[in-house]
Symmetry: C2
Subunit: 247 residues, 2 copies
């Protein structure tokens, strides 16, 4: 086992506790943000994130569109950082996700969105970060220090924070109950024996991951993890898109 392996395992083992802890940190801010969103319902939510956080944002798109019927658009960063085109974002929700909260291009986009009159919020692991200072609403991941470079518990914490936001915003009781049970479910999943999967993919030189709806984001994250940790060219497709295209 490499040092990286050990760090990833250690980080993943901490995810259930992080998700449990997160509940307290969000208890104050989420109702205020949700009240604002209900009083002035946005026509669109713009998400802004990179890498694993962008996959969490894809999960957020699914949740927000499914539970609230509000369209979610991923930010195209170059529109702000290269073309300096202001977007029509007055009273819309701009939602950034960044573990470190220090990616300069994401901070720049958050500042630009706020200047355009957007309601700005961020999910970050560092409530003292530049991104947190740039946004009106700060949603702390509460994941604790992430030791491994491929995001593990911070990805899980981001997805959980998005689900909490949607549960409070939509006032969906079933979703709120599922979130209460989430830390125990995560711990149980971590205790399962996943080694049977390894035998199947150990010889692969190229791999496709497939998901749809809520699992599309998870399939994307799995493909990225395989690239980052195993030098394996893995690529994600929605099942509908895969049938339409390569096969």
């Amino acid at each position: 086992m490499t040092v990286l392996d050990a760090q990833m395992i250690s980080d993943m083992r901490e995810a259930p506790a992080a998700v449990r802890r997160q509940s307290d940190g969000l208890a104050e801010v989420l109702p205020v943000l949700a009240d604002r969103l209900r009083r002035m319902p946005p026509q669109v939510v713009v998400t802004c994130a990179r890498g694993s956080s962008a996959h969490a944002a894809t999960f957020g798109k699914h949740l927000i569109e499914r539970y609230l019927g509000v369209v979610v658009a991923p930010a195209a960063p170059s529109i702000t950082t290269i073309y300096h085109q202001p977007l029509r974002l007055a009273d819309q929700l701009f939602l950034a996700i960044s573990q470190s909260g220090e990616s300069s291009d994401i901070i720049e986009q958050a500042a630009a969105a706020r200047a355009c009159g957007a309601v700005t919020a961020c999910i970050t692991n560092d409530p003292a970060s530049g991104l947190a200072r740039a946004c009106e609403f700060v949603l702390p991941m509460a994941a604790g220090p992430e030791l491994s470079i491929p995001a593990t518990k911070t990805f899980i914490a981001s997805v959980a924070a998005l689900a909490r936001l949607v549960a409070v915003w939509s006032e969906d009781k079933a979703l709120a109950r599922a979130l209460t049970a989430l830390p125990d479910r995560l711990a149980a999943a971590g205790d399962l024996d996943w080694s049977c999967v390894l035998e199947r993919i150990a010889g692969a030189e190229s791999l496709v991951t497939i998901g749809r709806g809520p699992t599309l984001a998870i399939a994307r994250e799995a493909a990225l993890k395989l690239k980052e940790t195993s030098d394996l060219h893995a690529e994600c497709f929605s099942s509908a898109e895969f049938l339409h295209g390569p096969v």
Copy 2:
């Protein structure tokens, strides 16, 4: 040369004529649509497409955000076709792109968007298709019959139609001039000798294509074409995302 190769070459050679022809077919509908969009500016444009058409939609997202500052969101089809969740789309622009105009899930989403009060428009190669009947505004590609299965001239025609829509909507004179010159530029590009690229990639087993801003959509389409025609696992990244993630 295979039959498929010959068809693809033949289809591509016809692209400049298709783009020239398209101008007439759009001359009536575009000003009416643009006038509607200027009178009731949408807060968001939702695009709906699969495969090559989805890559054209990515190009459209860049154009609409850059020239008009209006956020563009790609539709998540399962929200409509599986979860039957109506989206808040009153007075927003729903823009579908489909060569055949007969993909049942895209027709279903167009109908759902229209029922939610969206302004519905489609770019299609068949103005008598089910999609055309479902939408208020029909923008004909005018590409003529596409013989090859991997889309060639219909991809180019879709991108050109999107650029024409944005040129008329934004009243950008430079973009309009560029579109007048486009058929000749396409013909000149088709006459170039591209064989030097082949030597470089002939031995590859896995390949990454990279783009950003206007070239991101083209890099995505190139990766799909390599998969469809050459059994080569090619995957597209935005240059910013590639540096953030796998490398």
